[in-house]
Symmetry: C2
Subunit: 454 residues, 2 copies
Amino acid sequence: MTHLLIIGGSDAGISAALRAKELDSKVDVTVVVADSFPNYSICGIPFYLSGEVPDWRNLAHRTAEEITQTGINLLLNHTAQTVYPAKKSVEIVDQQGQVQWLTYDKLIVATGAVPVKPAIEGLELPGVFLLHSMEDTFAVHQHLTNHAPQSVVIVGGGYIGLEMADALTHRGIAVTLVEHSATVMKTVDPSLGQVIGEELRRHNVEVINRVEIETIEQKGTQLIVSGTGGFHKTTDMVLVAVGVRPLTDLAPEAGLKTGQRGAIQVNRKMETNVPDIYAAGDCVETWHRLLNEYTYLPLGTTAHKQGRIAGENAVGGEQEFAGSLGTQVVKIFDLAVARTGLRDAEAQGGRFNAVTVEMDAWDHKVYYPGAHKLRIRITGDAQNGRLLGAQMVGHYQGEVAKRIDIFATALFHGMNVDELNELDLSYTPPLSSPWDPVQMSAQAWVKQQIKYHS
Amino acid sequence: MTHLLIIGGSDAGISAALRAKELDSKVDVTVVVADSFPNYSICGIPFYLSGEVPDWRNLAHRTAEEITQTGINLLLNHTAQTVYPAKKSVEIVDQQGQVQWLTYDKLIVATGAVPVKPAIEGLELPGVFLLHSMEDTFAVHQHLTNHAPQSVVIVGGGYIGLEMADALTHRGIAVTLVEHSATVMKTVDPSLGQVIGEELRRHNVEVINRVEIETIEQKGTQLIVSGTGGFHKTTDMVLVAVGVRPLTDLAPEAGLKTGQRGAIQVNRKMETNVPDIYAAGDCVETWHRLLNEYTYLPLGTTAHKQGRIAGENAVGGEQEFAGSLGTQVVKIFDLAVARTGLRDAEAQGGRFNAVTVEMDAWDHKVYYPGAHKLRIRITGDAQNGRLLGAQMVGHYQGEVAKRIDIFATALFHGMNVDELNELDLSYTPPLSSPWDPVQMSAQAWVKQQIKYHS
């Protein structure tokens, strides 16, 4: 019997376990989970803290029971300490410090990521939180319940920071969001970041740009948050969300090569450099389908895909990861903000001649009630007309997310911008136009190219 | 100077005119329009009659003024009678019977379609309407205004019939919908037709299936509608919507070859068999990208695309129509119903081994409020795993339309069902799942294939 050992019980680890078991019911699968919460939707944490999801248990993609019913062994509250590839064994420790060794035929490392701890003084103070795991979530929730803070300073205007600004506003807390860049959400271009900033302000979030937080100090029951440019803010609570880094403490001892940001290097079969050890999810470098190179791009969707491939290959499969396009969407109040592929700055290096065109389009025929304006930025290669990426912001009921997915599917196939007009997309006046906004943006891009060359 | 003459001022005709002018500002473009309403969104008619669009003028994609400002000549209220290819001239008649001849270098026939008149006695009675043109619309609107009917019988459970059932219910009229098949909307499979039937009934529409209407008689100010199986219904108004046929009266005299349903035969450059005559839109046979053959599949989106290509080629272009996938969506009350590609019955003929799997999936993580259930039917070729088509029904805010477009984009590229799992689609808990419902359906299809073969 093959022993498949998986370190990590989040998206990648559980996807790997399920896929392996689905393809080969005789394989013995054990998943080592650092906490008691396997397969939790950590993307759902803001909606628990907002109060929209009343019971945190609902955040589970699957319950521990559902997982073990498939025949998978879950070793909860155990942490892998050291991997010994020569002996094909892993040293595991439980919360009481009890050590044991598990052997494997195949090992999948899916240890995920942890929040980046920025160089801010006072991060250890009570009322200051970093947010990533379910344990972090409980700590924040307890603080919200016991101390009923009236105000919060959120440090970081990325996905988590913005979702938490929405969540805590929903809870009635006065939110100040501090972002060191000129606009929030640096993963989209500034003109879209500005739209998001306006949406935040419309919902009474105080948005502070171009400030770097330096210290947090306690003052009675409150906290004073200070930063560059003379920024000072007294608040009841601080939430720090400035990104994540791969959790790869196991890598050096195990002889696993690491690369960007310290993420484990894998090939497209999710194999590491060490025989019989795979790795997947937020702890690995990710193959980028357009850049044709490895990047660090941690996303839940990617973790699911990579985990599934690692699981399949660990039981004899030959699957290859097709690559990430960096497709992402986030809902901030009434807005959906989505992107896929490359932006100008990301398409540098001489290989691309990236040109971006911005345009507005209605999500459906404007004569039908309830039309929402979408702002679209489409990026193509001026040299060969190839589509490189798209960004879109608009009302979340304007099918922003799945419109980005049309672009993502087009990018997957290396389409030209102009070719988007050949796609047979659905139309009815309450839901689109005869040329979908995706196609209108393509036409705008092509027109600008013609103008430029004539 | 090149003279481009276009017969027909709806989607295909105006798209052709605009594209020709865009590419070659020196070409002389004249569009002969049978009524005073060029470039009207006839797909929007139900929403004018429902009262949701208060002013019919808003249904114009562009106003006549906007069109003529581009330098296009519009000859309104003129009908083309005869095309003389030998003389390259067209006989035109105005509403007073005044005849004139226009010559052309290139001609585009875009005469569209007209409603099918079924073999029902009494279609000419006052209070009985067929609906297609703006003139028909005004007649219906006038009747609604002047006679304030309390009840209507709609004959035909296709797109227009269903949209009008929604529209007239919205207006407070008691609707009876009669469809001769066992379920409404024969363009989707019966299990989805049944969901639509339930939605209609939930909104108090009386849905009568398996009845063929035979006669309509007048009885005082009312109408008695009678059909097979002893069906009788007394009503204030009757609307007949049993499909359309191509309007190709010009074809025989002009020597234009016609094919299915009498539609004009064209190649993928939208050229007819007669030199310098193109045709596009609802009056032509349409290249089907999956069937690799011509079909009759009249759709506004296709008309726009074909018109654009005809216009481009008429001024020297070499564009080819990439083909239709039959992608469609319609909103009925709170439901969106969408499809793309082929269903089992449409994929017959030995070339495909079509297998369809039906499944339900939430439009987003169910822990986040407001999740809607989507019902998806995915069709693939059991022989080679190729995706053939998809159908979806669910709440219109569940991104049904643009999810079908992900399938449509995948079909455009001939993807396999299993490959859908490689697509990097967007995810956030309020808008999707780590595997989008599109991918969940692909996984369900693949699983069923494995089960079947093992």
